[in-house]
Symmetry: C2
Subunit: 128 residues, 2 copies
DNA sequence: CTAATAAGAGACTTTATATATCTATAATAG
DNA sequence: CTATTATAGATATATAAAGTCTCTTATTAG
């Protein structure tokens, strides 16, 4: 079990954008170069962030990506969910079993992880 | 990112063994049947638990698996680590960067998850 | 001792997912 | 119109998970 590289790229891109001049679009080429990843692949990842409303994309010359208006509220968990999906880490075969003991432990542990990631925002990393 | 099925099988097997008469070996065939998994595959998973000293295996007629002496101390985290390995969930490209901000957040969140899993033991599920 | 039983080991196959790449299309600034 | 830049979809490659098969080793009931 590991976070995907795509999640890593998404987090770094958000951090880069947060450190840039606001409202000035940054092209995927530049973002990809800083992370040693192909622009087309990064583009595909960033499109997920666009669809979740975390960043805006601007086509055409001088286009690129900018952070969305509400970017200061975006948490690590939001970004991870956008890339990895929102389903639980633990797949139980019988969700209907109300007596289940294993599931409770696994889900409560996952909740601790998510709480921490929900409380950390990209904007926390920028404000010094 | 998801826990593997192998982890699921390992957790369930530990729970089954904990509910059985102590010291009476349970064969892999029986354990596999209860989980709808092939015996040879489950065997491969259980061998990992044997190597970590969590369970004992007994060959030959009337053989099978028993919990190890210290089984009451075995945590969820121990079992998960035995199957999934102990490496971090977050792979950072530059571990050497002391200024890293993303890594700190990811590792501290993982720590919260692990703390919870470390505090929950299989024996907690059996004692009523 | 022998035959049946049961775990372990290694090679292999299959399936699924992650990680890309390639090409074509759409939007926009100048 | 043309150069630039994002988006979409098909395809390809790599890696890992999940499962099978066969042979070996250990134990014990009889
Ligand atoms: S014990 Fe819980 S985790 Fe296991 S099969 Fe039942 S419901 Fe699922
Ligand atoms: S910022 Fe942190 S996570 Fe990102 S490359 Fe640097 S050390 Fe790694």
């Amino acid at each position: 079990m590991k976070y995907s590289k795509a999640t890593n790229y998404a987090l770094h891109t958000m951090l880069f954008l947060a450190m840039e001049t606001p409202n000035k679009p940054v092209g995927v080429h530049q973002l990809a170069e800083r992370q040693n990843v192909s622009p087309t692949y990064l583009s595909k990842i960033l499109t997920k962030l666009v669809k979740e409303g975390m960043i805006n994309s601007i086509s055409g010359a001088n286009g690129g990506y900018t952070l969305s208006k509400n970017w200061e509220d975006i948490s690590f968990l939001d970004i991870i969910h956008a890339i990895e999906g929102k389903s639980s880490l633990f797949d139980c075969c019988l969700y209907s079993n109300p007596e289940c003991v294993i599931k409770d432990v696994m889900l409560s542990a996952e909740e601790k992880l998510e709480n921490e990631l929900r409380n950390k925002k990209i904007s926390d990393l920028v404000k010094k």
